[in-house]
């Protein structure tokens, strides 16, 4: 493997850069999406490893020990990792993703990945050296038994304990968040109204729930507004199944609201009807109604404005995220490429290939609105061919010229054709020694053909080395399985041409 592959290539999700370029040989599926790469490279340790280790074994986990982290993770650890603090329980950093092997400088850090809500339970578990599940169960039971006070404490801990890898807790930011504090004030004013009502109705249980409710609500508002983007994404992910009930579809939400309203209405009317005889009971009711309307008139506009502010805030946040996305993209691709180009100024061919790949990628991102390397369902044959071009140019530094005639949507057969074409292209790039490989793809009413041609060394088909025969067979078999054809023509010194033809399932006219 050359040094290039190790550097994380411009525009490619970082997970992919870690992949070996051996994807040709094992290209079972067509074009791995970067989710695959992430799943392969970025997952944490299996759950069994986390807690099953007795404390005595902590320090006895040198690299290579079978009970240590998987090899993939270890390779991502910084070199200084060998000297890690033996007092540190292994699971407190085992759980952090690769590249975030902070040594847990402070005593308490909320877990980044092993979290159900805020990661506080994991922090406590890591601190006292107990299984996180036990801690969670204890916390839940305590929250119920204490009428919610433990829940409030949990939220406060969430605010005060910094996340693993972060320097500051959320509380510091929350104190500067004036809008968030305003929102908390609004929430509290609502709760006070509720408390007044509760005392009017002598509903003591409600009153005792109000305090934890106030703390938890205020805490959650501040956390949500001040959490960094990644933590927010995690929270959104956790909340999604819950929201699915109400926001999943507008109709279900509407039906739900109508049902609740009808039940409340019926209950209210029934209560009024039954209490009609007793005038004494009506009096506090009228009082309550007046009180509520007074409060709504008084505070309603304020609540509304704050709710609106929340929406505006969210829009601003979306815009900020878009900007951040652009910045990331520019950094990951353009700046990286520029850096690479500077470093390889003495290798003109590679510089050209890099500049070319970068240009294409930028174009496709700017004008097609498609992040490079992604296959969406609407992708067409031409898009697939361009993707092969981008990938091969980026990974191998050899120019790929494409000529497309016509285009059509992708189906399974054509995806197989593209996979074969990609294999042929990569093979040409690797073996032919040619500086450029050309792909010609034509969509005709009855069939689709792809030709991959290089002007490199070529070979004598009679005396094919075993490895190349393997390619020929694999391309042929791939095509044959789908009813297509592959022929390979080559002669020493004249380069190689691989012709691939796949009949079209639906013979709609090619769009010209």
């Amino acid at each position: 493997m050359s040094a290039r592959e190790d550097q994380g290539f411009p525009g490619w999700p970082r997970g992919r850069a870690r992949r070996d370029d051996g994807f040709v040989e094992e290209s079972a599926g067509w074009m791995p999406s970067w989710e695959d790469a992430r799943a392969a490279g970025g997952s944490g340790a299996p759950p069994g490893e986390r807690s099953g280790q007795p404390p005595g074994e902590r320090s006895a986990a040198p690299p290579g020990n079978s009970s240590g982290p998987p090899a993939g993770e270890r390779s991502a650890a910084p070199p200084g990792d060998g000297s890690r603090d033996p007092e540190q329980p292994p699971w407190s950093f085992r759980r952090h993703g690769p590249g975030r092997w902070t040594r847990g400088t402070g005593p308490l850090r909320r877990a980044r990945e092993d979290r159900l809500v805020g990661g506080v339970a994991a922090a406590i578990a890591a601190r006292i050296g107990r299984d996180v599940t036990t801690v969670r169960i204890i916390l839940v039971v305590a929250a119920v038994l204490s009428w919610g006070f433990v829940a409030g404490a949990y939220v406060i801990a969430w605010l005060l304990i910094p996340m693993a890898g972060a320097r500051h807790s959320l509380a510091g930011r929350a104190l500067a968040d004036r809008r968030g504090l305003g929102l908390v004030a609004a929430l509290w004013s609502m709760l006070i109204v509720l408390g007044v009502l509760a005392s009017a109705f002598k509903a003591g249980w409600l009153g005792s729930l109000l305090w934890p409710l106030a703390v938890v609500g205020a805490g959650l508002i501040l956390i949500w507004r001040n959490a960094p983007a990644d933590e927010q994404a995690m929270m959104r992910h956790q909340v999604q199944p819950l929201l699915g009930l109400t926001t999943g579809s507008r109709r279900t939400g509407l039906i739900l609201r109508l049902t609740v309203a009808v039940i409340l209405l019926a209950g209210g009317i029934a209560a009024l009807q039954s209490a009609h005889e007793n005038v004494a009971l009506l009096r506090p009711l009228a009082g309550v109604a007046l009180l509520i309307s007074a409060v709504v008139v008084l505070l309603g506009p304020w609540w509304l404005r704050i709710a609106r502010d929340l929406v505006v805030e969210r829009q601003a946040r979306v815009r900020a995220e878009e900007r951040a996305d652009i910045a990331t993209r520019v950094h990951d691709s353009v700046l990286q490429t520029l850096a690479l180009i500077q470093r390889r100024a003495d290798q003109p061919q590679q510089v050209v290939a890099l500049a070319r790949a970068q240009e294409r990628e930028l174009r496709s991102w700017l004008f097609d609105g498609r992040p490079p390397g992604s296959i969406d369902e609407a992708m067409t044959l031409a898009g697939g061919v361009r993707l092969i071009q981008q990938e091969v140019e980026a990974q191998h530094g050899v120019a790929v010229e494409i000529v497309m005639v016509g285009d059509c949507p992708l189906d399974d057969d054509l995806a197989a054709l593209l996979a074969a074409a990609r294999e042929a292209t990569v093979n040409a790039v690797k073996w032919s020694g040619a500086g450029v490989v050309s792909i010609f793809a034509e969509v005709e009413p009855k069939e689709v053909s792809v030709f991959v041609r290089d002007r490199g060394k070529g070979f004598d088909p009679e005396t094919v080395p075993a490895d190349r025969k393997g390619l020929a067979e694999s391309v042929r078999a791939r095509m044959a399985r789908r009813g297509g054809q592959a022929t390979i023509r080559s002669a020493p010194g004249e380069g190689t041409e691989v012709s691939l033809t796949m009949p079209r399932a639906v013979s709609e006219p090619s769009q010209a």
Binding site: V403, V405, R453, R455, S510
Partner: protein
């Protein structure tokens, strides 16, 4: 059509370069080296027209994109008065409609700016000899434009001009696959001269066809 021994007999073709990037002009100048004689350069439409009608080169290397109105403006301005000046379009852009526009204005061929020095010299000599030069990309564009699948709305006005023959299609396909004229000749068991005449015939159709298709195709491509 002149025979296929492009300008090798002593007379180097006189070449004029029109491109708005000075760096690119000097790059081309050095790449062309001693095989051609560069008689001038221009960076925009107006100076190009003035200087070319003065120096009357054999071949003008013409950038498709120019600030003052695109390469076709230069071709259309000079073609009526100086039919002997031949144009070879050069472009970094992959936009087919621009390329087709320059060809239809009268350029004898189109190559991408990524072409190697030797290939460029070869293309210049071919154009100087009166032949057409089709890069794989241009061949792809033309196949696309004359695709059989989507016919023009009305009947073809002139079947002679509005359709490619089977042989022409074959030749274009091989060009698109990256074959040289020599390889095409060998592949199809015809002479290089026959290949050249097929290509020239395609060029003529491309320039003269009144087929709505071409115009419509170009606008569709712009949107696509």
């Amino acid at each position: 059509m002149s025979p296929a021994e492009p300008a090798s007999g002593g007379a180097r073709p006189r070449v004029f370069i029109v491109d708005d990037h000075g760096l690119f002009r000097s790059g081309v100048r050095s790449e062309l080296g001693h095989d051609v004689e560069v008689v001038g350069e221009a960076d925009d439409v107006a100076p190009a027209i003035a200087l070319i009608s003065e120096s009357l080169p054999d071949v003008v290397l013409l950038d498709v994109h120019l600030p003052g109105g695109g390469g076709q403006a230069v071709v259309s301005a000079l073609k009526p008065e100086h039919p002997e000046v031949r144009f070879l379009a050069l472009s970094a852009s992959d936009a087919p409609e621009d390329v087709i526009a320059v060809i239809r204005a009268g350029a004898r061929g189109y190559v991408t700016k990524t072409i190697s020095g030797a290939e460029l010299v070869d293309a210049v000599q071919r154009v100087a000899a009166g032949d057409a030069v089709f890069s794989p990309r241009l061949a792809g564009f033309v196949l696309d434009a004359f695709a059989t699948g989507a016919g023009p709305p009305g009947p073809p006005l002139d079947p002679e001009l509005d359709q490619l023959t089977g042989r022409e299609r074959e030749v274009l396909r091989l060009i698109a696959r990256g074959y040289t004229y020599k390889e095409i000749a060998r592949e199809l068991y015809i002479s290089v001269k026959t290949v050249e005449s097929h290509v020239s015939s395609v060029l003529r159709k491309l320039q003269l066809s009144t087929r709505h298709q071409l115009a419509r195709w170009a606008t569709e491509r712009r949107l696509a």
